[in-house]
Amino acid sequence: MTAITPQIVKDHGLSEAEYARIKELLGRDPNLVELGVFSVMWSEHCSYKSTRVHLKKLPTKAPWVLQGPGENAGVIDIGDGDACIFKMESHNHPSFIEPYQGAATGVGGIMRDVFTMGARPVAMMNALRFGAPDHPKTRHLVSGVVAGIGGYGNCMGVPTVGGEVNFHRSYNGNILVNAMCVGLARTDRIFLSAAKGAGNPVVYIGSKTGRDGIHGATMASAEFSEDSEEKRPTVQVGDPFTEKLLLEACLELMATDAIIAIQDMGAAGLTSSSAEMGDKGGSGIELDLDKVPQREPNMTAYDMMLSESQERMLAVLKPGREKEAEAIFRKWELDFAVIGITTDTHRLVVRHKGEVVADMPITALSDAAPVYERPFVEAAPQEGAPVFDPSRDVMQSLVKLVGSPDMCSRRWVWEQYDNTVMNDTVQRPGGDAAVVRVHGSSKGLAITTDVTPRYCFADPYEGAKQAVAESWRNICAVGGRPMAVTDNLNFGNPEKPRNMWQIVAGVAGIGEACRALDYPVISGNCSLYNETNGEGILPTPAIGGVGLLKDVQRMATVALKRAGDALILIGATNGHLGQSIYLREIEGKEEGAAPPVDLSAEKRNGDLVRGLIEQGRVDTCHDLSDGGLLAALAEMAMAGGIGAQIALPEGAAAIPFLFGEDQARYLVAVPSANAAGILAEAKTAGVPAASLGVTGGDKIAVKDVGAVAIGALRKAYEAWFPAYLGGSELPPSN
C-alpha cells in the first residue's frame, strides 16, 4: 500500500489539520482508498463546510413543505395528493472545460436527483452566465452549453421551459451553468435515501463504472503514475439514452414496494451515495467492489469509490426482492448488481479482491466533517444615485437596450430545447414564468429562475433579497401562488474574506426575503471557488421558484391582446437608475446603489396582481425588472404585435421614470371599462397604481418624448443572438 505523504494529502485538497483529524477519527493512518473517500466527503461540494452554519438560517418550513433540504430534492404538497419535487444544481467547472458534455451531464445529474425521489421530471430550467461577449472563449462556450443542455434534455423527453442567460466579464474564466429540474409524484409515493435496517441488499443500477471524473490531483500519487496518459482525469460524457431507460426503470420499480431507500450517484459516486444512505438510515454499509459493473479492466478500489460515471443509482431493497427488481432493470437493458448489504455497525466497509480496502465509521465521514466559520470582511454596499445625460434620445436608447446581449430575445437558445414535449407546456419560454400543466388536471406549475448579479455585487444583501423577490414576482405575474424555492449559491473563493462576506450577506438576504414572502427554501446547492484570474465572479445566488396555479385557463401572459386596453402600472416608481441596465448599456457605468427591496410592498402588490388574475380580471401582465417600465412595455408590444401610447405622470423625469429599476412593480393591460375598478381596488389595498395610457397601433409612443415602431424594436431584439452565434461557430455535437 502506498504510504500517505504530506504531498498526497495536499493533492487530495485536505489541510494538515483535517488530515490530523482523520487520523484521530480512525485511530490510525488512513490508506489511500480511505483518504480518497475522506477527501470527497469532506470536500466543499459534499460537506458544505464553508456554508453549513449559514444555510442553517434559511427558512425551510411551511405547512405545504413535505421535505426540506437534506434529501436529494425538496418536496411540496400541491393538493389532490400531488407532490412537486424540485432542485437546482450547478455544473460550472465541468462546463467550462467541456461545454457540451459539462452542461449535458449537469442536466442528467439534476434529473436523477429528482427522479430518485419518485418523481417524473416534467420541466427543466437553466440559469447560465457567460463571460463578456467579446471574450474569445464566450461564443464557443455559449453554443456548447446550449447544445449540451438540449442534447440531454431533449432526449429525455422533458421540456426545457426557461431560464436565464447573462454575460459579464467576471465570468470570463468561470462560467455558470445551473440547471433546475421539477418533477411530479404522488404525496404517498415519495422515496428517501435513508438505508434503514441491517441485512438488506444494496443494489447498483444503471451504467457501468468507468474512470470518469476521478479527482485530478490524486493522479500525482505513486500508485497512479504507471501510465499518465491513460489515467488522465477524464471528462464525464453523458448518455441520455441510458438515463431515459434508468428513469423509466426506476419509476417502474418504485411502483412496487420493494425499495427501502434509493439515491443517485452524483458527485463522488459510490462513496457519497453509500455513506449518505448509511448515515441517514443510521446503518452500516458493506460493499463488495468485485460485484460493481465495470467498464474498464483493472479498475482499483480507489477508482471505483471515486468514479463519477453518470447514469447510476444505488438502492437498498427489502430482502428477497432482488429478482423482481432485477427483472425490471434487465427489461430496460440496464446493469443491475447486488453489491453489498446493510449492517448494524454504522461503518462503511469496502472489500475488493477478497481484502478489506476501507473500513471507516460513517459518522466520521458525515457528522465529523469539518465545519468552518470562515472569517469575512463586511463591505459597505455601493451607494449613491449615478449621473446620467438627461438629453439622450429615449427611443434610440430603448432600441439599443432591447438589442443588448442581456436583454435581447433568447429565442436562439430556447429553440434548441424541446419546450413542448409532454404536451403540458401552457406557457413557453419568453414570458415571466414558464407554466406547465399538472398532467390530467387543470392545475399548473409556474417556474422561474432569477438573480441579478450586478445588484448582488453592489449590495450582496439587497441583491439576494431582490433575487427572491423577482422570482416571487414572476410567479405572481402569471397568476401563480409562489410556493417554495431552490437556490444555487454561486460565489467565489470562500477563503477570501471579501467573498465570504458576499456569501454571508447573500444567504441572510435570501432568508429575510423568503421569510417575509412565506416562500421557504426546500433544496439547493452551493458552488464556491468560482474565480476569473483570482477575482471572484459577481455573486450569483440563483433562485429557482415554483408556484401553483389553480386553473391554467386563467393564466396571464405578457403579450398585449387587444387594442384599446388601459395600461396600469402597479407599484411605486422612484426612478432608481443605480446598477440599472440603462446605466450600463447606455451610459457605460456600473455604479450606484442596487435598488432597495421593500418586502411588504412586494407582498401587497403581488397579492393584488395575483388576485386580479385569479379572478379573471387581468390576462395581460408583466413584471418590471431589467430595463424598467419602457423595456417591459416594449416586450409586451413585441409579444402581442400591438403598440401602446403612454404619458409620463406630472413632473416625472423621462429617463429615470422609463428605465429605472424600482422593485415590486407590474404593468398590466385590461379592457378600459375595468380600469377604474382595478385602480379603486388597488387604492383600498394600499397599492400604488396609475393608468399610464392605452394599447393600440404599431408603435410605442411616449407623449412629449418620442415613438418607435414595433418592427424596429423587434428587429433589434431578435438580431443579437443569431448574429453573435451565426456562421463562424460550429454547432457542437455529441
Binding site: E98, G210, T234, V237, R295
Partner: protein
C-alpha cells in the same frame, strides 16, 4: 492533397454511441462482437502539395477545430 482525419474518443472516455451500436449488433444476432467505438472521419481537400506542410496544417486544424482534445484524439492520413 487529401487528408483523412480520424477523430476518436480517448481511451477511458465513455462512448454511449459505440455501446449502443454494439448492443444493437448483438440484438441482430452477430456473434463475437467485442467493444464497438464510434468516431468521426473528416476528409479535407487541400491545395497544399508538400506533405510535411500539409500535415502540419491539418494537425493545427485538428487542435483548433476538428477534435475536441479534452475527450478526443486524432490521427491524420495523407493521400496525394
Amino acid at each position: 492533397m487529401r487528408a483523412r482525419v480520424f477523430v476518436t474518443l480517448k481511451t477511458g472516455v465513455l462512448d454511449p454511441q459505440g455501446k449502443a451500436i454494439g448492443h444493437a449488433l448483438e440484438g441482430l444476432g452477430f456473434r463475437g462482437v467485442g467493444e464497438v467505438r464510434q468516431g468521426k472521419l473528416i476528409e479535407v481537400e487541400l491545395s497544399e502539395t508538400d506533405e510535411a506542410r500539409a500535415r502540419a496544417s491539418v494537425k493545427e486544424m485538428c487542435e483548433k477545430l476538428l477534435a475536441n482534445t479534452v475527450i478526443e484524439k486524432y490521427e491524420i492520413e495523407l493521400r496525394p
